[in-house]
Amino acid sequence: MNISYESVAVSSRIRLARNFRDYPFPDRLIKSPHAREQASEMVRTINAELNAVEEFELYDVGTLTEARATYLVERNLISRDLIRHSAISAALISPDESISVMINEEDHIREQYFMRGYDLNKAYERITGIDDVISESLPFAFDREFGYLTACPTNLGTGMRASVMMFLPAVSRRGLMKRIATELHRLGLTVRGTSGEGSGAEGDLFQISNEVTLGLTETEILSAVEKAVELIVQFELRERARMRAEGGIQLRDKTMRAYGILSNCCLLGMKEFIELTADLKLGILFGYLGTDRAEEEVLAEVDEHIVAMRPANIDRLNGAALSEEEQNAYRAEQTNRVMRRMEIVV
């Protein structure tokens, strides 16, 4: 059984929260009679500064259609909070979608870098460079004692949230997530569902991140998250070995059924799709479903396909809005194709 480290720690994300000293925070700014002018000035300055260094596409949230905005939310490039502030908000997104800078979300600036695979230090290096560029546009709200000032004190100090998305089918299906959550809280860390705060876990994916943002350096925060991730990886791998040993024919049957349905179904709802792809990934990791390609490559393709098959992403691929049933048919057809392309050997 060839189970790699990155089959557990799937992706890395660093987010920095920043505000400008001379403007009210977004929730207050939006109520000001000069909100639009002030927001435009902010967006214009940041856009000029960033685009002088590298290419970013500017999205004025107020002019986005609902479908386009939802498409970007589904791809984790903007948030619902940014849409809530659509009168004053914007986003700057890099062509490869690895960097997103949200303007006037909960804070004036939410900068994030996302990468497939596990490398928090690389993610931090990249986003801190972007942060340095933005810091040259307008003076940040910064206090010698409290650090970067944020709208909510839960983000005060570094304003940094370092998170790693982890695929934990064995730990979660064996009912051990509570143990991890308790341990993480003790370390100033937290575990959330796939889409961040308040969301449930989809497809056995969990986000591990720091809760404390003040009183630790960025390096200390990264190192705390890394230590936890490494322990969880070992825990998950041990539990996978147990799961495979104890699972017998029932476990094999479950993953093969998932492959069978994903390869042949005619209608596929989002919830069922997510559950089946988690079983499929497990089947690949346990060697029940073979492929000549590298395991990481196949898993990455499955994960990219999951994002592409979210409702607004389907509508965009299709070129027009579809009903829910039409989307389910589209998702089924595309998934059948992806399964064929992967040349999985049973």
């Binding site: 004190p153 839960t154 003040l214």
Partner: protein, 143 residues
Amino acid sequence: MLCAMCGNDQARVYTRRTESGETKLYLCPDCYRRFMSGKASDTKNVRRACPSCGTTLDEFRKTGYLGCADCYSAFREELIPTIRVLQGRLYHTGKDPVRALGDEQAELEEELADAQKTGDKFLEQRIRYRLSVIHRLLSGGDE
């Protein structure tokens, strides 16, 4: 784990819901009661407003959000117990944009002296421009 506020008694985990989401409080029952009743800080001035944006302490307690950077100065004393509870610490030790700019300024001043010695007018001009940007940022945007 000890109470994040008094540091003496064993903490329990309390979940507090605000408009900005859920927050876990690691407090002993006594400090939790004081914190929730607002007695952990000075509650006499809850109607006092931030001179810059008008946000009141009451509004912050209700929503969990501050209105602007100056709210941190206006409500500093009242905020300290809340920050201590949320973060467990009070002093920032991470990245510092002012310090970083200060370091860059010192390096550029040395480079400027070198450029003047070698008579490289183009480099001198570039360094002077960058120094003027840093000066503007350090002085808070006032020319």
